[in-house]
Amino acid sequence: MTRWKLELPVALALVLMSLILTLSTNRLTAIALRPASDTPVVNDGVWFGAEAVDTVNRLTVPEIEQTQTARYPLSALWLRLPARLLMRAAPALGGSELLGYLTAIAGAIWVGALFLILRTCGHGLADAALVTLMAMASASFVFAFAAPSMLAFAAVTTLPSLTLVSISRTRPPADSHIVIAAAVSAALNPANAGFGVVAALVLRDWRRAVQIVGNAVAIVLVMWSLQHLIFRTSVFPLLLQEQQAQTTDPVTAYRHRRVAIAASTVMHSVVVPGIGVASSKGDRSGPIVALGGVPPGWRGVVTVAGMLVWTALLAIGLWALTRHSADTRLRVFAWSALATHVTLASTIGPEPLIQAVSILPVMVVIAAAGLWWRPRAVRVLSAVMLVLAILINLWALRDAIELASALTS
């Protein structure tokens, strides 16, 4: 009873901390990414390829084409519509400021949902809070939610699938819930659809899973059609030439380095090895702020320590999940989702840091699984990881903002 009484305050405290963190970082990056409101930004993908200015424009500027729906299928319906309504309700609010708030809200939902998932996985209140804090201090979270981007919003859509798999330990979910979770996973980023598909396959036999995925596809298509009636310039998902070009022509600097990108997705999503500059491509050509060399680019003793602790946490968690967890569904889901995401990330490329925020909850759940096997060791490692992540990532954030300012000015 006492635990349940503490549950809500702890969750609220985590959400509040997340809001403070993301609102602060958003203010800092807003200055760096858009020095003056009337300055045309040529190099929009400067923030780890996140296209922050384009996101703000697409979601807030009146009469702008909604061609981003080719890559983010329901972004106009789910994000632009509420953003425009909010702008009408509060006309004094600027587009960039509003998107900063929306990004912070998305970050808060991400944190709250992750805490819930960890609790439903069976972790204690303190353990769940500690691991959630660690995730909140991770590089992916800090950098993804520091600037408005579709990928940050899309990161939230993977959580319903993970929630259902974790809840299934105690309460089997209904078919309709899996359908909705699968539809949500594909709604903002088709690359995240794998989460819904894997959840359906894990929770049901393959025939039923195919039916569930089919229903989810139907929901997304009907919603896209509704969106197309409201926003007539919206483009059908995956049909824009730009989208094909992106998947077939990764950034020159990272070409043929898929293994390095895959390794970076797993290794650098919690602590960044360092911040550097890489070349970009396309109409938003120009250098972008990126991880300091995608293959583990060790920079300093603290960074090395952070990487080692995260690797240890993941290794212990994977071992515990494979050998000691009674929950086969969670194990299969975690492995499959991780494999799917890493494969996609290394195919799509080039900058894995922002995209990794979608898979981070799964990696955190894997790391937290170590608590079932060696609780004390994992608690200590998590606490150390939290401190190191705060130190390393805030330091890297300062570097990234300086670099971004230099590149956009």
Binding site: Q211, G214, L221, W224, H228, F236
Partner: protein
């Protein structure tokens, strides 16, 4: 066939789909329980109807639409013989959706007639997903294709529709789609229309024959041996088509290729009862009369369109935007 001109390649394609539609219609009559000679005569009647004579030679989607509209009806008849096959009904529903969105109502209705509501809903969703996946594959070759739902142009089209005149629409739906009256050119270089054409005796006689056959068939459809699910579906689809024709009041004949075969199916039910011989006699006379009349009217219409196209090429001059193709055909 490589190296054929655009018009020749169209002719071959149109002939192929017209033949496919005829074969499907014949198969439908046989499934319904019509005897071989009856099915041959009524297939002939459908082929010489005004709708078939005027729409099979032009580059439009109406023949394909008519073909896909037969799939749910066939599925319901097949289900009567071997019930409960989900794949068959789902595929029939997908086929009905594949060319014209409004035809999907027949596919949905067919599913609801042969199974429970929950299953029917699921089968309809599956049909939608199948067509959507095929559409996505199609979009890889034709990137400018619009998705079947959320088509803003269709909404614009519906918003700009003129006020329908019910009597004219009813006349075209029930009578002119079988027996073509004198086609009225709107102007020397403009298109053709039969929407507000006045009736005259030579056609009235054939219309009377057709109406008698239609009434006899309707009676037999409801009182005869046709499966109840087919009876309900055919009635619903005819009523649905009629509603659409009344709603879209521009040129009812434009969509007659979808509705006319359904009416011939209703008429063919007359052969399932005691008055089979009378029905066959009426149908034979009507087939001959319709063939002569409709061919004559078609020649006149083609001549007019060729003249109009020579004067000025205006894509919306005829019922459809197919003037280029039609004008190149021999009168």
């Amino acid at each position: 066939m490589y190296g054929a001109s655009r018009i020749d390649s169209f002719r071959w394609t149109a002939a192929f789909y017209a033949a496919l539609w005829s074969a499907a219609f014949f198969w439908m009559l046989r499934l319904l329980g019509c005897r071989l000679p009856d099915a041959i005569i009524f297939t002939g009647l459908a082929n010489v109807s005004a709708a078939a004579v005027f729409w099979t030679p032009v580059p439009e989607f109406f023949v394909l639409g008519a073909l896909t509209l037969l799939a749910p009806l066939g599925a319901v008849l097949a289900d009567h013989a071997a019930p409960g096959l989900a794949v068959r009904t789902t595929l029939a529903s997908a086929v009905s959706l594949s060319v014209t969105f409004t035809n999907w109502l027949a596919g949905i209705a067919a599913a609801f007639l042969v199974t429970t509501r929950v299953r029917a809903f699921q089968w309809s969703v599956n049909a939608f997903v199948i067509v959507s996946v095929l559409w996505i594959a199609q979009a890889a070759w034709f990137p400018h294709a619009e998705f079947l739902l959320g088509n803003a142009r269709a909404i614009d089209y519906l918003e700009r529709l003129p006020e329908p005149v019910f009597t004219e629409a009813l006349m075209v739906f029930f009578l002119h789609s079988m027996i073509m009256p004198a086609v009225a050119p709107i102007g020397p270089t403009e298109g053709l229309s039969i929407q507000s054409v006045s009736t005259a005796w030579p056609w009235s006689l054939l219309w009377l024959l057709w109406l008698s056959l239609l009434l006899a068939g309707s009676r037999q459809l409801f009182l005869g041996p046709a499966p109840s699910s087919f009876r309900v579906l055919l009635s619903c689809v005819v009523a649905g088509q009629l509603f659409l024709h009344l709603l879209i009041g521009r040129e009812t004949f434009l969509f007659s290729m979808h509705s006319m075969p359904l009416l011939v199916l209703v008429a063919a039910c007359a052969t399932l009862g005691r008055a089979r011989i009378v029905a066959l006699a009426l149908a034979t006379i009507l087939t001959g009369g319709a063939a002569l009349n409709n061919w004559q009217q078609f020649q006149g219409a083609a001549q007019h369109v060729a003249t109009a196209a020579a004067t000025v090429v205006k894509d919306d001059a005829v019922f459809t935007d197919s003037v280029d193709c039609l004008s190149q055909m021999p009168p």
